[in-house]
Amino acid sequence: MRMAAAAPGFRTLGDGAAVAWSLLLPALCCVAAFVIVPVISLGLYSFWERLPTGAVQQVFTTANWRELLGDSYYAGMLFKTLKLAAAVTLLCALVGYGPAYYITLLPPRRRAILVTLLFLPSWISYVVRSMSWLPILGKEGLLNTILGGSGLTSGPLPLLYNEFSVVLGMVQFLLPLMIVNIYIGLQAVDRKLVDAARTLGATDAQAFFAVTFPIAWPGLAAGCLLTFILAMGAYITPQILGGPGTSYYANLVFETFVAQQDWPLGAALSLVIIFFLVAGLVLYGRLAGISTMFREVRR
């Protein structure tokens, strides 16, 4: 039997465990009832039969899954969304790293202000943020007015209702999240380590890549994970800023569910994306460690 250096301050099993569990119960019930049960419901529904009338019969069938896996359309849609999410994540990481690093260079008081400022846009509803691109990118929008007026272009550029505007909108939406996560990761780097590297002969750039970047990696990884997950589930931005050809997985689910009223198929589609994300999470966990993710998500 080991001797414990008991951590003072914790009440252990028996010392008020009842109080602990009663405090946790409402939260646990909420998650169980409003998150876990829905996912299970999705599972059940995906195996039920949809009659041509549109009603759902609780008869077991694998028809939905066979359609889903058989028709390459769905796989294609998933893949297309994946590409979008990857592109958006990459862009956010590239564009966001600079500002995140810049914040760490500032004195502490300025830092707080800048982080707040950076977060300000994210308090604005994402519907508003998405639609705010419309007057800018439209044929008679701000950009085209300026470009046309200054003679740089002969006709209006098609900046809107295509993949370009969707990616733009999503990057704008997800950038603050990425920046904050990278910033948190960078904060974990002790300045003294960088100094040590430089006294040992490394240039600024070398010290960055050898010391700072690796240690700050969990922040970037967490940012990428969150950004990717949110991008995969993108519905509003493609809906507002997209056009023909910019329908992604979430739009597909919406279509299937609402327009086609095919609930079982919609359920199956939803499950697929969950599996996919869980797989991504497991992969991330292997690569970066689950505990670091939770440390970074906490702000």
Partner: protein, 351 residues
């Protein structure tokens, strides 16, 4: 102030399969200053917290003035506690911090004023009442924490390593302060520390703990001069070790061949023996003849550190190094010089 006596009977604390405190029996007399001393993980803090009521013993009884208090809640025990990081409420002034306990005892307003002023006077901080904790220095914070604990007229004062977070000079000062306050106020005190100097200088009685049990307890000199276990011996000061074999009662031949008198040692000839001695019991002297009542071992000075009143020599005795501290005499020994180390026959500790 009513000081209480405390009795711990068979106190045990388990966390699942892990035993933090393995059965403690201890009696503390009213007004006594007892130090719970030991390395981290020995169970001293857990024991203190059990007395306070912040942890529940999984076995045993705690009795205060003869009454079993195991089932009495923390807030009803009336013990004052001072924590390692002062644990002052950061959003309240020093005055409000100290008054906190009085409010829960429904002490009327004018009395609160008076008592808080009194407590601040005892800790010699009469003017800091309106300051917030973050506006006070480390020493001041700790003293306000002490005032907060005393003002409620506790039956017992519990200290959980209160000086560890302070720097060395401040610690010295606070030690003296605490002793003075204890003499003035006379409350039974249990003081947890890992610092042997603190325990020896402050306590009426030292309780040395190890792996969840009491290793030895007694007055400071007793523990220092007559340790019962090797653990106790090594815990205080620095201890040198020499190996050898017993040859006759009271006589040991140590590894380099020298015959060494060791009073009180009665082992069968040929038994291997480890001889321990404290640095200040030995003396470095010039090479000279041996003398039957004192061990005289030859060696070379490895280093000498001048420490003001004392000098510390590291002497190489044929492969084994020993440390000797002695007063700076007329003679100083240089590095590389051949010397003898003399150890009186009664300085040896064996276990």
């Amino acid at each position: 102030m009513s000081a209480a006596n405390v009795v711990l009977r068979g106190i045990e604390k388990r966390y699942g399969g892990v035993i933090a405190v393995a059965g403690i029996d201890l009696s503390i007399a009213a007004g006594e200053f007892v130090a719970l001393l030991g390395p981290s993980g020995c169970g001293k803090t857990t024991t203190l917290r059990m007395i306070a009521g912040l942890e529940e013993p999984t076995g045993g009884d705690i009795l205060v003035n003869g009454r079993r208090i195991n089932d009495i809640g923390v807030h009803q025990r009336n013990f004052g506690m001072v924590f390692q990081d002062h644990a002052l409420f950061p959003h309240m002034t020093a005055f409000d911090n100290i008054a906190f306990g009085l409010k829960y005892r429904k002490v009327p307003r004018p009395d609160i004023q008076r008592k808080v002023r009194q407590a601040l006077d005892i800790v010699r901080l009469p003017h800091v009442g309106e300051r917030l904790p973050r506006e006070l220095s480390g020493g001041q914070q700790q003293r306000v924490a002490l005032a907060r604990a005393i003002v409620i007229d506790p039956d017992l004062l519990l200290f959980d390593e209160p000086l560890s977070a302070l720097d060395a000079n401040l610690r010295e000062e606070m030690r003296i302060e605490l002793k003075r306050i204890h003499r003035t106020v006379g409350i039974t005190t249990v003081f947890v520390t890992h610092d042997q100097g603190e325990a020896l200088s402050m306590a009426d009685r030292v309780v040395l703990m190890h792996d969840g049990r009491i290793d030895q307890e007694g007055a400071p000199e007793q523990l220092y001069r007559s340790p019962n276990t090797e653990f106790a011996a090594r815990f205080f000061g620095h201890v040198n070790e020499l190996g050898g074999t017993a040859t006759a009662p009271g006589l040991v031949r140590i590894d380099d061949g020298t015959l060494v008198p060791a009073s009180g040692l009665n082992l069968a000839p040929g038994t291997p023996v480890r001889l321990l001695f404290r640095t200040e019991r030995a003396r470095v002297v010039p090479v000279g003849p041996a003398d039957p009542s004192t061990a005289t071992v030859q060696g070379t000075v490895e280093s000498s550190d001048y420490m003001g009143m004392m000098v510390r020599y590291v002497v190489d005795l044929g492969g084994r190094q020993v440390i000797v501290t002695q007063a700076v005499g007329d003679r100083q020994y240089r590095v590389g010089e051949a010397v003898c180390v003399k150890i009186p026959a009664d300085a040896w500790m064996t276990f």
